[in-house]
């Protein structure tokens, strides 16, 4: 299951449509990290609203994506984590430390816009 990545102005938006296998996640990581420079994006949003399970591999991969994208000069926001998923994650000790999170796509876009407007 490939994750579609849309370009929206200076931002890239990846919307996860269904549960992802480990392979899909690795593919997503490579695709995002490659495209962020090709598209000259300032920020990346990964929407995980459709994910009802977030295991340790998935969250570690998401965290790596965020760190790698930072090294490539852009900012990452993870949006749409479900309440049940969030609590299950913290109970497993997964807190996505150092990664910016937001309620949904709209909030994530607001965050990025604010960040780049104020610095521009």
């Amino acid at each position: 299951m490939e994750v579609p990545v849309l370009k929206q102005g200076p931002f890239l938006i990846a919307t996860v449509q269904a549960a992802l296998t480990d392979e899909d996640l690795v593919h997503l990581r490579r695709a995002m990290v490659e495209r962020v420079v090709i598209a000259r994006s300032l920020g990346v949003i990964i929407d995980v609203t459709a994910m009802d399970i977030m295991d340790s591999f998935a969250s570690r991969t998401l965290r790596e994506v965020a760190q790698m994208i930072r090294l490539r000069g852009a900012e990452t926001v993870i949006v749409g984590i479900q309440p049940e998923v969030a609590f299950a994650m913290v109970q497993l000790g997964i807190t996505l430390e150092g990664v910016v999170t937001a309620l949904d796509l709209e909030e994530g876009l607001n965050y990025l816009k604010q960040k780049f407007n104020s610095s521009a």
């Binding site: 984590i81 969030a86 994650m89 913290v90 309620l103």
Partner: protein, 304 residues
């Protein structure tokens, strides 16, 4: 004794298993005779019973007339249960009676006490009637006692069940009341926690808060624990997890009103304080939340 318990446990129609020495008809006839006797002396026995209740200082929450009215109803139900050998009507009555008297503070020992008194009053009247014929008295008591025990049991169990139902209902009500998630401004929620937090309540609080963040699209949450006196390590860890889970939903949590004892607990268990945003009191917490959201509150006169 074993024989009697066995009889008590049978669902209905204990007539049939009674006193295996006597014929079935014998027992049925005896019970009919017994019922007739109780009907005949209804007024007198009932009054005797009500008098004994008052004497024993039971049901002090109720007036004399009320006691008498209830005594009449119970007496009739009692006789009927003896006659028919079925307890459904009595059970239903015991439940409705309990519903009426529990709010008035009637205790379990009082209810058991009055039923046992009735059993006593009736047994005495049987002694008085059959004292000349000892064999017959023996057989009458054989028929009467298992049934009377069963009746006492039914009433007491009915009362206790009703009480438990009330307690459950109240627990449910307290649980729902205890965790309001309130919106004080656009995108700002407060969660005032008061009282003891046990693990179950903590879990419920978290669920409600996370759901509240989603439905109100909250950005900042102030959790006020001024009303929480103490917190054990499990609950403290749960609080930290709640803060982290809220962050995953994109909301910032500010915890206010930590008492010295709770501060001590958090430090002792070594909670990572970097993750906790704490402010001394609720007012300070709300002010900081407003700053985070970009609000500025000024007195009307000072507005430029």
């Amino acid at each position: 004794m074993a024989k009697e318990t066995e009889r008590l446990e049978r669902p209905t129609a204990w007539h049939e298993t009674l006193d295996r020495g006597a014929s079935l008809e014998g027992t049925a006839v005896l019970l009919r005779e017994l019922v007739a006797h109780l009907r005949e002396n209804r007024t007198q026995l009932r009054e005797e019973w009500a008098r004994r209740i008052t004497e024993a200082k039971l049901l002090t929450a109720m007036s004399k007339d009320e006691i008498f009215a209830e005594a009449t109803a119970v007496y009739d139900q009692y006789v009927e249960a003896l006659e028919t050998g079925t307890f459904e009507a009595l059970q239903a009555y015991a439940r409705s009676l309990s519903e009426r008297i529990i709010p008035r503070g009637v205790e379990t020992h009082e209810v058991v006490g009055i039923v046992l008194l009735l059993r006593d009053v009736l047994a005495r009247s049987l002694f008085a009637k059959y004292q000349a014929d000892f064999t017959k008295l023996d057989r009458i008591l054989d028929a009467y006692e298992p049934a009377a025990n069963r009746i006492a049991n039914t009433v007491a169990v009915g009362f206790v069940q009703e009480r438990e139902r009330v307690i459950r209902q109240q627990q449910e009500a307290i649980r729902e009341l205890s965790t309001p998630v309130l919106q004080v401004r656009e995108r700002l929620l407060i969660l005032p926690i008061i009282g003891v937090i046990d693990p179950q309540r903590a879990r419920q609080l978290t669920e409600q808060l996370l759901r509240g963040i989603r439905t109100n699209r909250a950005k900042v949450v102030v959790i006020d624990i001024t009303g929480v006196a103490a917190m054990d390590a499990t609950v403290a860890n749960h609080l930290v997890q709640t803060v982290e889970a809220s962050r995953l939903l994109g909301a910032t949590v500010i915890v206010t009103g930590l008492s010295p004892e709770i501060a001590q607990t958090l430090v002792t268990i070594g909670v990572d304080l970097g993750k906790m945003n704490t402010v001394g009191d609720l007012q300070g917490g709300i002010e900081q939340a407003e700053r985070l959201l970009g609000y500025k509150v000024v007195p009307i006169g000072a507005a430029s």
